[in-house]
């Protein structure tokens, strides 16, 4: 058993030791926690003022979706909610790095990616309210349905990427296609994820494995899943790995953009480890005071992804107060729409559970549907 207080005590000499609040020197960063823009030899990007403002706006709106959903859960309108609080930059940055033709395979926490992919937040709430197990059109949005079983989607993403190769849709820097598979530090232990690494490597699949290392898998710290920094795992599978500051939206964007472009031009997979922090509970059902210290959260609050972008915008003098006011107003409007939409969301028709189970309905299900319909109608008759 790894000792809980010395998580990486046995890591090798050459391995930069990372605790949950220090990522080590290999961390790619373009924006310091203080909002200072720094350069990086491999990942420098040029962005317009408009783009900078757009990043900030998405960060704010994403956080507002999350805060509103958490409040709705507290008020009994959602069964549960998995907050992304603290992970906005990793998600908005990587999500905005996707080109329209790319396909994303999320876990259950990728609300920020969903937002930049154009999925209506109400569709996400529908899952957590318990009115739907799917919720949106994955083909139209190029954003696959949420996957709750840990790790499964990494194989789906790999298979999809193999299909891109078979279609000859890689090569061109503009039109080539790529996939991105999201997963967590906990998921990195699953067999499926490790098999996905093998497949992607062997078939040179155009895929980016985007691991949000938020330091926790429910109550289990990352040190209980790995003894080396996660991004270093990639090397053993035969492709590059990079650790990015997941609370830095610009670096998350730049690193993912490059990895996706490598993939779409036929250079195979990359593992991106976004070093970040789950600032909230695992879900609204969880109580983190049972397993982690408040001081850890305090340390991470100093690296808040929104605050640093805000500080940067001020320093650059590319915004004024009316900008922040308009973003706030947009956020208020979005929150109000979400709240209203959630409260008005109808429960599904009970008979809908028999539909779409198969492409071709079976006699057994047709019969069960028929009988249950009659049974329910009997009640209505009795009450009328």
């Amino acid at each position: 058993m790894p000792a809980k207080d010395s998580p990486l005590a046995t890591a090798t000499e050459t391995t930069p030791v990372a605790t949950s609040s220090t990522a080590g020197p290999e961390l790619v960063q373009l924006l310091t926690p203080e909002g200072e823009r720094v350069s990086h030899p491999d990942y420098d990007i040029d962005l317009t003022d408009e783009e900078y403002r757009g990043f900030y706006r998405d960060l704010v709106l994403t956080r507002r979706i999350d805060v509103e959903a958490t409040a709705l859960q507290r008020q009994g309108e959602l069964g549960i909610w998995a907050a992304l609080l603290g992970q906005e930059a990793a998600q908005v940055g990587s999500g905005r790095a996707l080109r329209p033709q790319d396909f994303a395979f999320p876990t259950y926490r990728e609300h920020g990616v969903a937002w930049v992919r154009g999925v209506d937040p109400l569709r996400l709430l529908g899952l957590f309210r318990g009115v739907d197990n799917g919720g949106w059109d994955p083909i139209a949005t190029r954003f696959q349905l949420y996957t709750i079983v840990i790790g499964s989607q990494t194989l789906h993403a790999t298979g999809y990427a193999m299909g891109i190769n078979k279609d000859g849709a890689v090569g061109d820097a503009e039109t080539g296609e790529a996939t991105i598979a999201y997963f967590g530090d906990g998921a990195s232990s699953q067999g499926d994820v490790n098999e996905a690494f093998v497949w992607a490597s062997v078939y040179n699949a155009p895929i980016v494995f985007f691991c949000q290392n938020n330091q926790w898998g429910i109550s289990t710290p990352t040190a209980n899943q790995t003894r080396i920094p996660l991004y270093q795992r990639a090397r053993g599978f035969g492709f590059p790995g990079v650790r990015v500051d997941g609370n830095d939206v610009l670096a998350s964007y730049a690193v993912t953009r490059k990895a996706l472009d490598d993939a779409r031009t036929g250079q195979g997979p990359t593992l991106v480890e976004a070093f970040t922090y789950r600032m909230g509970a695992h879900t609204t059902s969880d109580d983190p005071t049972r397993y982690r210290l408040a001081s850890e959260l305090e340390a991470w609050k100093l690296k808040d992804p929104l605050e640093r972008m805000k500080a940067f915008l001020y320093k650059q003098q590319i915004v004024d107060n009316t900008f922040f006011e308009s973003v706030e107003a947009d956020a208020d409007e979005l929150a109000a729409r979400i709240r209203k939409g959630c409260l008005e969301m109808p429960d599904p028709d009970p008979l809908s559970m028999f539909d779409s189970v198969y492409a071709e309905q079976t006699p057994l299900l047709a019969q069960e549907r028929e009988e249950f319909g009659r049974y329910l109608a009997g009640f209505q008759g009795a009450h009328a």
């Binding site: 058993m1 809980k4 069964g79 549960i80 259950y108 899952l127 957590f128 309210r129 318990g130 009115v131 739907d132 197990n133 709750i148 079983v149 840990i150 906990g186 998921a187 990195s188 232990s189 699953q190 067999g191 499926d192 898998g217 429910i218 109550s219 289990t220 209980n224 899943q225 059902s285 969880d286 049972r290 397993y291 429960d347 599904p348 009970p350 809908s352 559970m353 028999f354 189970v357 057994l364 299900l365 069960e368 249950f372 049974y375 329910l376 009640f379």
Partner: protein, 324 residues
């Protein structure tokens, strides 16, 4: 006598098993500091140490696979699978390895492994958190499959399961975790493998296990007001299955309704219906009927109450049985 919830009774049962035998170890996701998402292992790591109660990496195949190795090494691992829907990454290890090891080694390798699984619906959860996968395991030779329906059984059955030299899939009805009963820890428990008549009756036998036992008890109480006497049998063990007790009950009532949350198609009820028909064909007044979940994926939680057998659906089928 203490009033214990089922979760607490399981916790006490695990504690007792660990005190009785130093080879008992608990392993699973988030079972240490957190005490498991349902708090069934609450406080056990603190009291028995990280060597005996440990958080595993997030990989169910790893949990069961290493439990097999620990068993070969002489340990008695108790694995926690966090939710029913997450046992499937371990299915290969359970079915292909755990279940067959004793037979393949001609009994040299005992597999005293318990796989605890909170199962069933009714708690308003998201997908994969409300499954009833018991039939997959009952169908597998070499595994034993049990489920407790109340705190007293929970306390004793978990200890009996840990003492057993066979691998046991131990299903815990998660929506009953918070129900309380007085638990007399000094009493001598019934056999782990026996079914039990939990409410005697004369008109129809209701047969259930785990979460549906309470539903059937409620149905029997409601039926009594209408002058019907329903007998309720708690199966307790799905494999092996105590047919003697089932036959004895049905011989008296001549009518049997099997109730489970899992879908009907090739479920436990199918097996029971076949056996009972073979044995009691000439004595019965009605065919064996079933009240089950539908043959669909478990639906979104806002309509799960429609999916799950409830008092009304049980009584509806009881009426059908009596109408023959």
């Amino acid at each position: 006598m203490p009033q214990l919830t089922m979760a607490k009774a399981l916790n006490e049962g695990l504690r007792k098993a660990m005190e009785d035998d130093p080879k008992v170890v608990l392993m699973g996701e988030d079972i240490g500091k957190l005490g498991g998402v349902f708090r069934v292992t609450d406080g056990l790591q603190k009291d028995f140490g990280e060597d005996r109660v440990f958080d595993t990496p997030l990989a169910e195949s790893g949990i069961v696979g290493t439990a097999i190795g620990l068993a070969i090494r002489g340990y008695r691992p108790v694995c926690e699978i966090q939710f029913d829907g997450f046992v499937f990454p371990a299915y290969d290890q359970i079915v292909s390895q755990l279940a067959k090891m004793h037979a393949r080694s001609k009994g040299t390798l005992k597999m005293p492994v318990v796989v605890r699984i909170p199962f069933g619906g009714g708690i308003g959860a998201v997908e994969h958190h409300s499954e009833s996968p018991e039939a997959y395991f009952a169908h597998t030779a070499g595994l034993k499959v049990v489920s407790c329906s109340n705190p007293v059984d929970a306390y004793f059955m978990i200890q009996q399961a840990i003492k057993s030299d066979d691998p046991i899939i131990f299903f815990e009805p998660k929506r009953r975790y918070w129900e309380k009963a007085e638990v007399d820890t000094s009493m001598t428990p019934d056999s782990l493998w026996g079914a039990r008549v939990v409410r005697p009756g004369t008109d129809v036998t209701l047969l259930a296990y785990g979460p549906m036992v309470k539903t059937c008890m409620d149905a029997a109480t409601a039926a009594e007001e209408d002058g019907r006497s329903l007998e309720v049998v708690d199966l307790r063990s799905m494999s092996p299955l105590d047919y003697a007790t089932v036959f004895e009950s049905v011989r008296r009532t001549k009518r049997l309704v099997v109730v489970h949350e899992a879908p009907s198609f090739v479920g436990l009820g199918t097996e029971i219906a076949a056996r009972v028909s073979e044995e009691l064909y000439y004595e019965m007044e009605a065919p064996v009927l079933r009240v089950t979940g539908f043959d669909t994926p478990y639906p979104p939680s806002r309509i799960e109450e429609e999916y799950l057998p409830d008092l009304d659906r049980v009584l509806h089928v009881v009426d059908r049985s009596l109408a023959y």
